[in-house]
């Protein structure tokens, strides 16, 4: 064989032949789902999340490199409820991977089994902004919902890789136990502020607020997906002042200036907290993420 052809052939083989170290190659739309999948699958899975924690999950650019990243995946875990509906319909078929297309065994809708909040009961109108017709999709902000996801993933992993089913079941059980234990500490930390009202940028903290007995006062955006204008910010700041609401939460992917401006006008402060794992460097997994949110809120509401 011509040495040049041989060299090129070897290089191509090295580049393309990625060995499968794990039993299951798992891809997820959100980093929280990746964190849960890692906890459940342990050494048997390799996991990649298409959306980084600091990206807006509504608007992930459907880069062809994302299609490439899931070309050989065995499982794809979608957050469901159309949160990834702006980009997944391009990325999934673009992967040319029949194993993970909607309806295939390897496709998981992680929202299955979750008690979905804010399901529209009547006609859905975009006069109310970019509403989600299937209900609020940010259920992964409730730690207990992640137990449902973990149990679901353990079942899917076991179906696809029966040889390690007991390990997946044990992984899910261990995860559920750790969530229960952490919940006790998180609840204790936020208990003094039960009933407190806060402002969030988007309606993405509603599951968290409900779980920890907090209330949503208002949002920085006037309607989902609609950026705030000065008049709206002034009116909201005025009503915050009257109600004594001083805490505004925003995410790394939102307009921090608008959140800070609102908080300043209301005489309060704005805090950057993640909604997803890796949204801030400290949020390495779902436990660290909730820990960060709870600590931040505890300090903010406590006036520290």
């Amino acid at each position: 064989m011509n040495p040049l052809i041989r060299t090129v052939a070897v290089c191509m083989w090295c580049l393309t032949a990625i060995p499968a170290f794990a039993d299951l190659k798992v891809a997820t739309s959100l980093s929280d789902l990746a964190s849960v999948a890692e906890a459940v699958g342990g050494k048997h899975v390799s996991v990649v999340s298409l959306c980084r924690g600091y990206e807006d999950p509504h608007f992930v650019p459907a880069k062809p490199s994302l299609m490439k990243a899931i070309q050989d995946a065995d499982v794809f875990v979608s957050v469901g409820l159309e949160l990834d509906g702006g980009w997944l319909p391009l990325v999934l078929p673009g992967s040319r991977n029949p194993k993970i297309q909607a309806g295939a065994k390897g496709f998981v809708d992680a929202s299955e089994g979750v008690n979905v909040l804010e399901k529209p009961t009547g006609t859905v109108s975009r006069a109310e902004g970019d509403v989600h017709p299937l209900g609020n999709p940010h259920y992964y902000l409730d730690p207990l919902n992640l137990k449902i996801v973990a149990d679901h993933l353990a079942q899917v992993f076991s179906d696809l890789d029966p040889a390690n089913a007991s390990d997946y079941a044990a992984g899910a059980k261990n995860f559920d136990g750790k969530i229960d234990k952490s919940m006790v500490a998180w609840k204790k930390e936020l208990k003094p502020y039960a009933g407190a009202r806060i402002v969030t940028f988007h309606k993405n903290f509603n599951y968290f607020l409900e779980r920890f007995d907090l209330k949503l006062f208002s949002t920085v955006e006037p309607k989902p997906g609609i950026p705030p204008n000065p008049r709206y910010l002034n009116e909201t700041a005025e009503s915050m002042q009257k109600a004594g609401v001083k805490v505004v939460l925003y995410q790394p992917y939102y307009d921090a200036d608008a959140a800070k401006q609102l908080a300043q006008k209301a005489g309060g402060a704005a805090y950057e907290v993640p909604t997803e794992v890796n949204g801030v460097p400290e949020a390495k997994d779902v436990f660290a993420k909730f820990g960060f949110i709870v600590d931040t809120l505890s300090k903010a509401l406590g006036g520290k």
């Binding site: 191509m12 062809p64 319909p89 078929p93 309806g103 307009d255």
Partner: protein
């Protein structure tokens, strides 16, 4: 009398039996609408001030598009884009896709051929109100649309490298595209090849390089071809994917003809464009584009009588277009209040020199376009 009574009794019993059916039995349907396709509707309106064009000023209906998409069964998805324009209804795209073959995406039906970058866009997704002049002079203002089949192979190379091959039905030149693939010979199956490479330069920036080829035999017995090369550098900051970003894109397109013996017949048209789109905020976009096209037709270059300077007319009383050299600059600003509406203002100025040396003409336009979408709209390609 007795028979009347019996008849009335029968009618009464019949009506009673109807009324005694459970209410649910009357209202429940055996036909379900739960599996209906997702439906979207887009409408485009345009206003134009163009002193160099013999057209009235004012707002006009540009087109409306109904899009339907649904899963057929575990193997196929069917999609349709039906366009309603002032000159009629066009089933612009009606196609089935399948992702059932590992590594291969299949598309069959009436499709928009995978040629270049701009040729893949629907009118409402054009970055500028007008398509580059070279588009209408090579593959078509809205791309090459024809019945056929395409297979797109996502190669196992470490970067995104996609090779698409397509075969289509013989089609002659029309108002949609100038390519003559109208030979009725059995060996005329217009064919396409498209190579797309995309590299992640960093987390926020991608570089895309593509090459396209389209060929087939015309009713005139010649082999007609179109070629394209495209380069796109795109930046979308991941932390502000809905607020900031820019797209630098350039494309070179050409069309030529070859004799049956393989000898070159003619250069039919060649041109290029380069554009920059910049996103200032969640709602504001702006863009600038420069372009040039040779041996190309436009709206203002027409054959003129050298003596009078008046247009020469065909048998229908229409001015006869002539090809020439077009240089054009376009700039626009767009306000997208939400994902579902956009209003933009655009200026374009073109300097055009007909090949018949009848003298340079100008085409200056100020346009406004309103773009509205309701219902489900599938996401646009990256």
């Amino acid at each position: 009398m007795r028979s009347h009574f019996r008849s009335l009794l029968c009618v009464f019993l019949f009506l009673f039996s109807l009324g005694s059916f459970p209410v649910q039995a009357q209202t429940r349907s055996i036909i379900s609408n739960l599996a209906n396709p997702a439906i979207g509707f887009n409408a485009l309106f345009k206003a134009q001030v163009a002193p160099d064009l013999d057209q009235p000023y004012g707002i006009e209906f540009e087109e409306a598009e109904i899009s339907l998409i649904s899963t057929v069964d575990p193997y196929w998805t069917l999609a349709a884009n039906l366009v309603f324009a002032p000159d009629g209804v066009d089933p612009e795209e009606v196609y089935a896709t399948s992702s059932s073959i590992p590594g291969i995406g299949l598309k069959v039906g009436k499709i928009r051929g995978s040629f270049g970058k701009h040729g893949l866009l629907h009118t409402h997704a054009f970055p500028f109100i007008q398509a580059p002049v070279i588009m209408a002079n090579t593959i078509g203002e809205e791309g090459f649309k024809d019945a056929g089949i395409e297979a797109a192979w996502l190669t196992p190379l470490p970067w995104f490298c996609e090779l698409t091959l397509g075969g289509y039905h013989a089609v002659g030149p029309d108002t949609d595209h100038p390519l003559d693939f109208g030979s009725s010979n059995h060996d005329n199956i217009p064919y396409l090849g498209h190579l797309k490479n995309l590299f992640d330069v960093d987390d926020n920036t991608t570089l895309e390089l593509g090459g396209s080829f389209l060929g087939g035999y015309g009713a005139d017995g010649l082999h007609h071809s179109a070629y394209g090369a495209d380069l796109t550098l795109r930046n979308v900051p991941l932390r502000q994917s809905n607020q900031q970003g820019w797209i630098l894109q350039s494309e070179l397109l050409a069309r030529d003809s070859w004799n049956n013996d393989g000898s070159f017949a003619s250069h039919d048209a060649i041109g290029w464009y380069a554009s920059l789109q910049y996103r200032w905020s969640q709602v504001w976009w702006t863009g600038i584009r420069v372009e040039e096209a040779f041996n190309s037709f436009s709206d203002v270059m027409v054959s003129k009588d050298p003596a009078t300077g008046l247009p020469n007319l065909d048998s229908n009383g229409n001015a006869i277009p002539v090809a020439g050299h077009v240089q054009c600059l376009s700039a626009n600003i767009a306000w997208a209040a939400s994902e579902f509406s956009m209003i933009r203002l655009e200026y374009s100025g073109a300097r055009e020199t007909p090949d018949d040396e009848s003298g340079t003409v100008w085409d200056n336009r100020i346009m406004a376009q309103m773009n509205f979408t309701i219902g489900f709209h599938p996401p646009h390609a990256y």
